[in-house]
C-alpha cells in the first residue's frame, strides 16, 4: 500500500443522481508523471476537485495518500503535501514574483503577518527558487507583465516553494492553455525536474503532444470512467483520440477545397505595435492561416484588421470597401466578423443567456413591426443555430457562463456566422476547446468558406492549421516571413519557419521567448 504516493480505488462521485465519476482506479508513484486526458465534460475537473477536497466522493470511494486517508492538512503542506496549479495559475498579476511567492508562504501565527517583510532576503530567495526552474527574469516586475511561460514558472515555483521532502504530489490542471507549443520547453523542464527529484506529478490536459513529451503513463477519461491506460510509447496519437472520443470523431475534410473567388480582404502596409507593414490578400472561399510565436504579430493581426485596436498605418479593404482604423462597428457594417482570442474577456457576456449572446450583433431583423424586440423570434433563430452547430445543452435561455468552453465558443461562432460575413477573422478559435468540439468548429469554418466567406485563422495550433487552412502565412518579429501552400503545411515546416532556424531540431538557445 505505502508504495504509492497516491492511490484511488473505486472513487465515484454523484451529483443529484447524475454520476460524474465512476469507479476511478488510479495509482501514482514517486518520480512519475501521470497524464489524465479527456474531452470537456469527461470528469477531469471533478476528479481534480475531489482530490483537492472540494468535492466529497461517494461512499465506497477510497483515496489514500502515502498510505493514509487524505486529510485537509495535506493540501499545500511542505512535507507529504498535495499541491495544485490551476489553469488560470491564480497569481496576483499586480504583485511581483517575490510578493506572489511570499503571499502563500505559511507564517507562524497571525501576529507574524504584521511583522515587517524582509525584502532583500525575499528577493534573493525568489531568484534562487526561479533559477532552479530555469526562470531568469526580473522577480520584482509585476507578474502581469511577464510572458505566459514565465508566469507558469512562477506558479510552479510557488507550489514548490518550501517543500521539505521531495515526495510531494503536484497536480497541474491544464497549465499550458495559454502557451504556444514552442514556449512550453522551460515549463516541461521544470515539471520533469520535480519528478526526477521524486515528486509525483498529475497533468491534466487537452494537448496530446504534451502527453507524449512528458507523461510516463496516460489515463484516458470518458463519461466519468477510465477507458484506457497506456504507458509511454505504447500508443499512437490517433489511438488516444479514439479513446477520448469513443471513435465518434468524423474524419476531417480534405481534398474538396473550392476554387477561391475574388479577393475579399486586401491588407496593405498595415502596422501595429508588433505587426510591421503586413501585406496579404484573402479570396472569397479561401481559408488562410496566420501563425507565429506570441508577440510575433500573429496575435495582433486580426485585431488590427477588425479595428479592435487602432492601426499605426496601412489600409484594409474588404470587398472593395475601406475599413477605418479602430472602428469595430464600421467593420461589422462592412460584413466583417471577428471571434476574438480571449473568449471570457472579449467575446462572451457571461451575465447573459445563450440567446442574448448569439443575437447581439444584429438585432434589427428580430423586431416586430412595432419595434418591440421579439424574444420568440430570437429563440427560434437561436434554436436554428443550436441545431446547426450542435450546441449543448440545447436550451436557448441557458446562461452562457454555465456552458462548457467548447459550447461557448460555438455560440460565439454562431453569433458571427448569423451575420453572413464576407470576411471571418478567427483568433485562436479553439483555445481551451476539447477535441470533439474542435473538429466541429473546424468543419463549420470549412463550410462557411465553401459558401464563399473569406476566412483568416490566426492560430498557434499546428493541427488546426493543417486541418482548416488552404495556405498559411508565418509571422516572425512582426513581419510575414513565409507563405506555405496547403501541401507544405506540416509540423516541421511550421516550426522551422516560426522560429527561423534552418532545422527544426536545433532550437535557438536559451529560450525563443527571451528574444521578444
Amino acid at each position: 500500500m505505502t508504495d504509492h504516493l497516491l492511490e484511488l480505488s473505486r472513487v465515484s462521485k454523484t451529483f443529484e443522481s447524475q454520476t460524474v465519476l465512476r469507479d476511478i482506479e488510479l495509482k501514482l508513484d514517486a518520480g512519475e508523471v501521470l497524464a489524465i486526458i479527456g474531452q470537456n465534460g469527461c470528469g477531469k475537473s471533478t476528479l481534480i476537485k475531489t482530490l483537492a477536497g472540494y468535492h466529497t466522493p461517494d461512499r465506497d470511494s477510497s483515496i489514500l495518500a502515502w498510505g493514509a486517508p487524505i486529510t485537509a492538512s495535506m493540501v499545500g503542506a511542505p512535507e507529504r503535501g498535495l499541491h495544485f496549479i490551476h489553469q488560470d495559475l491564480a497569481l496576483v498579476s499586480a504583485l511581483t514574483t517575490v510578493e506572489n511567492l511570499e503571499v502563500t508562504r505559511p507564517r507562524p501565527g497571525w501576529l507574524a503577518s504584521l511583522w515587517p517583510t524582509r525584502r532583500r532576503a525575499e528577493v534573493r530567495h525568489a531568484r534562487r527558487v526561479l533559477a532552479d526552474f530555469g526562470g531568469h527574469f526580473d522577480v520584482e516586475k509585476p507578474v502581469g507583465e511577464l510572458t505566459p511561460t514565465e508566469q507558469s514558472l512562477v506558479a510552479i515555483a510557488r507550489a514548490f516553494d518550501g517543500w521539505t521532502s521531495a515526495d510531494n504530489i503536484l497536480v497541474l490542471d491544464e497549465p499550458t492553455a495559454a502557451l504556444h507549443p514552442q514556449e512550453l520547453k522551460p515549463l516541461f523542464a521544470a515539471i520533469q525536474k520535480l519528478a526526477h527529484r521524486g515528486a509525483g506529478v498529475i497533468l491534466v490536459t487537452h494537448r496530446l503532444n504534451e502527453v507524449a513529451a512528458l507523461a510516463d503513463r496516460v489515463l484516458v477519461l470518458r463519461d466519468g470512467r477510465i477507458v484506457g491506460e497506456v504507458a509511454r510509447n505504447g500508443y499512437e496519437e490517433r489511438d488516444l483520440i479514439e479513446l477520448m472520443t469513443g471513435g465518434q470523431l468524423k474524419p476531417l475534410l480534405s481534398g474538396d477545397r473550392p476554387e477561391p473567388g475574388e479577393p475579399a480582404l486586401e491588407v496593405r502596409n498595415v502596422s501595429g505595435l508588433r505587426v510591421n507593414k503586413a501585406d496579404l490578400t484573402v479570396r472569397a472561399g479561401e481559408v488562410v492561416g496566420v501563425t507565429g510565436l506570441v508577440g510575433s504579430g500573429r496575435d495582433e493581426l486580426a485585431n488590427l484588421i477588425f479595428g479592435a485596436t487602432p492601426r499605426a498605418g496601412g489600409t484594409v479593404r474588404v470587398a472593395g470597401r475601406t475599413l477605418p482604423s479602430g472602428n469595430p462597428k464600421a467593420s461589422i457594417r462592412a460584413r466583417v466578423a471577428m471571434v476574438p482570442a480571449d473568449r471570457r474577456r472579449q467575446a462572451a457576456i457571461m451575465a447573459m443567456s445563450m440567446r442574448e449572446n448569439l443575437t447581439l450583433p444584429s438585432l434589427g431583423p428580430l423586431r416586430r413591426p412595432t419595434g418591440w424586440l421579439s424574444s420568440a423570434l430570437e429563440r427560434r433563430e437561436t434554436r436554428k443555430w443550436i441545431r446547426a452547430l450542435d450546441i449543448r445543452p440545447p436550451d436557448t435561455e441557458k446562461s452562457i457562463e454555465l456552458m462548457s468552453g467548447g459550447n461557448q465558443q460555438k455560440v460565439i461562432l454562431a453569433r458571427w456566422l448569423r451575420t453572413s460575413p464576407k470576411l471571418l477573422l478567427l483568433d485562436d478559435p479553439t483555445q481551451g476547446v476539447d477535441i470533439g468540439a474542435k473538429a466541429e468548429i473546424h468543419s463549420t469554418v470549412r463550410n462557411a468558406a465553401a459558401d464563399g466567406t473569406a476566412v483568416l485563422v490566426c492560430s498557434s495550433d499546428v493541427v488546426e492549421l493543417i486541418d482548416v487552412c488552404d495556405r498559411v502565412l508565418v509571422f516572425r518579429d512582426g513581419v510575414i516571413v513565409a507563405e506555405l501552400g496547403h501541401d507544405e503545411i506540416n509540423e516541421t515546416r511550421l516550426t522551422t519557419e516560426t522560429l527561423g532556424v534552418s532545422e527544426a531540431g536545433s532550437l535557438p538557445a536559451p529560450d525563443p521567448e527571451e528574444k521578444l
Binding site: 505559511p106 469595430p328 462597428k329 443575437t359 434589427g364 443555430w385
Partner: protein, 360 residues
C-alpha cells in the same frame, strides 16, 4: 447593425437535429419560474408582511390613508432608484443622483421665484440641466476615463456646492401657485409623482427589456469590451444611461419642490442610499441578478410597507433603518449563497487552494 442580413444556418450545414425544447408549455414554465420564490421573494415577503401587520395593527394598517401615504410618499425614491438602476445596467455607478435631486429642486424654485420664468420654461430648463449633468458624468467616465464611482462622487460634491451657492443656504419659498397646485394635487387618490413614476417605469421597462438599445445597455454593463467588439457604441451607451439617470433625478427634484412648495437646499442627499438599496434589492427579483425596473419599484414598496408597518406597530425610531439595512443584506446575501454560490465558491477555492479546508 442596420444591416439586415441574417444567415440561415439550416441550408448550408447538415447536422442531425438536436432535441428541441419548443413547446406551448415553455412560456408558462418561464412565467412560473419568474414568479418562483427564488426569483420573486419580495412578492412573498410582501404577502407575509401584509398578513402580519393586518393581524397585528389592523386598525391603522388596513386604512386607505396608510396605503395612500405609502404610495405617494415613496414614488420619488422609486424614481431615483430607477435612474440609478439604468446606470447600473450599463455597468456604471451614478453617485451624483442625490445631489442632482437637490439641483432639480433648487433650480426649478430659483427659476420660478428669482427669475420669474413660467412653470413650463422652468421645468424644461431644469430637465435640460439634468441631461447636461449626465453628459458631463459621461464625458468624465468615457472620454477622460475616470472610474464612474470617483467621477460621479466628485460631480456630486460640486453639485452640492452649486445648490448652496444658488440658494445661499436658504429655502426658496413662494413658488408659482399654479405649479404648486398642479404637482401637489391628488388625482384619484394618487399624487403626481406616482403618475410620473408609472410613466417613467413603463418607458424604461420597454426600452431596457424590449428594444435593441436596451439589449446593448445590458451588454455594455455585462462586458464592455465584448460589447464594443460586437459593434455597440459603449461610450454612447454609458453616456446615455448616465444622462437618463441624471434627468430622472432632476425630474424627481422638481416634483419634490412642487409637492412641498419650497426649494430646500437640504433636499437630495437623503435619496442616494435608499435608491441604491432599492436598485440592488430589485436586481435580486425577477431577472436573476440583473437590474430591472419592475424589481426596483417592487423593492421600494416592499421596504416601505415593512417600515410603515413597524412604525404603526410602535417600533422605536431606529427600527426602520435597521429593517432597511438588514433586508438589503439578507436579500442580496441569499442570492449569493444560492444561485451564484457555486461560481463564487469556485473562485475562492482556486485562490486559496493551498490552504483549503477539506472534508474527506
Amino acid at each position: 447593425m442596420s444591416d439586415a442580413t441574417v444567415a440561415d444556418p439550416e441550408s448550408p450545414l447538415d447536422k442531425p437535429p438536436a432535441p428541441d425544447h419548443t413547446s406551448e408549455g415553455q412560456g408558462l414554465r418561464r412565467l412560473a419560474s419568474t414568479l418562483s420564490i427564488r426569483n420573486a421573494s419580495a412578492i412573498y415577503v410582501f404577502a407575509a408582511m401584509f398578513l402580519i401587520f393586518s393581524l397585528w395593527v389592523p386598525d391603522t394598517f388596513l386604512t386607505s390613508t396608510t396605503w395612500r401615504s405609502l404610495l405617494n410618499g415613496n414614488a420619488t425614491t422609486a424614481l431615483v432608484a430607477i435612474g440609478v438602476g439604468i446606470a447600473l445596467c450599463a455597468g456604471v455607478f451614478d453617485l451624483s443622483v442625490g445631489a442632482t435631486v437637490g439641483i432639480g429642486s433648487m433650480m426649478v424654485s430659483w427659476l420660478l421665484v428669482n427669475k420669474g420664468y413660467s412653470p413650463i420654461t422652468a421645468v424644461l430648463i431644469t430637465l435640460v440641466i439634468g441631461v447636461a449633468i449626465g453628459v458631463v458624468n459621461g464625458f468624465l467616465v468615457v472620454v477622460i476615463g475616470i472610474d464612474s464611482f470617483i467621477a460621479t462622487l466628485g460631480v456630486s460634491s460640486i453639485l452640492t456646492a452649486a445648490v448652496l451657492a444658488i440658494s445661499n443656504g436658504q429655502q426658496i419659498i413662494g413658488l408659482d401657485l399654479g405649479f404648486r397646485s398642479f404637482v401637489s394635487r391628488q388625482y384619484l387618490g394618487m399624487s403626481v409623482p406616482v403618475y410620473v413614476l408609472i410613466g417613467v417605469a413603463i418607458v424604461c421597462w420597454y426600452v431596457l427589456e424590449h428594444t435593441p438599445l436596451g439589449r446593448r445597455v445590458y451588454a455594455t454593463g455585462g462586458n464592455r469590451e465584448a460589447a464594443r467588439l460586437v459593434g455597440v457604441r459603449t461610450g454612447g451607451v454609458i453616456t446615455a444611461s448616465l444622462a437618463a439617470s441624471a434627468v430622472t433625478a432632476s425630474l424627481t427634484g422638481l416634483l419634490i419642490a412642487g409637492t412641498f412648495g419650497t426649494g430646500d437646499p437640504t433636499t437630495g442627499p437623503d435619496y442616494l442610499l435608499p435608491a441604491f438599496s432599492a436598485a440592488f434589492l430589485g436586481s435580486t427579483q425577477f431577472k436573476n441578478g440583473r437590474f430591472n425596473v419592475l424589481g426596483t419599484v417592487v423593492a421600494v414598496y416592499v421596504l416601505s410597507v415593512g417600515v410603515k408597518g413597524l412604525q404603526l406597530a410602535g417600533a422605536s425610531f431606529w427600527v426602520p433603518s435597521l429593517f432597511n439595512g438588514a433586508a438589503l443584506i439578507i436579500a442580496v446575501g441569499l442570492t449569493r449563497l444560492r444561485g451564484r454560490g457555486a461560481a463564487i465558491r469556485g473562485v475562492i477555492g482556486r485562490l486559496s487552494s493551498r490552504s483549503q479546508p477539506r472534508t474527506p
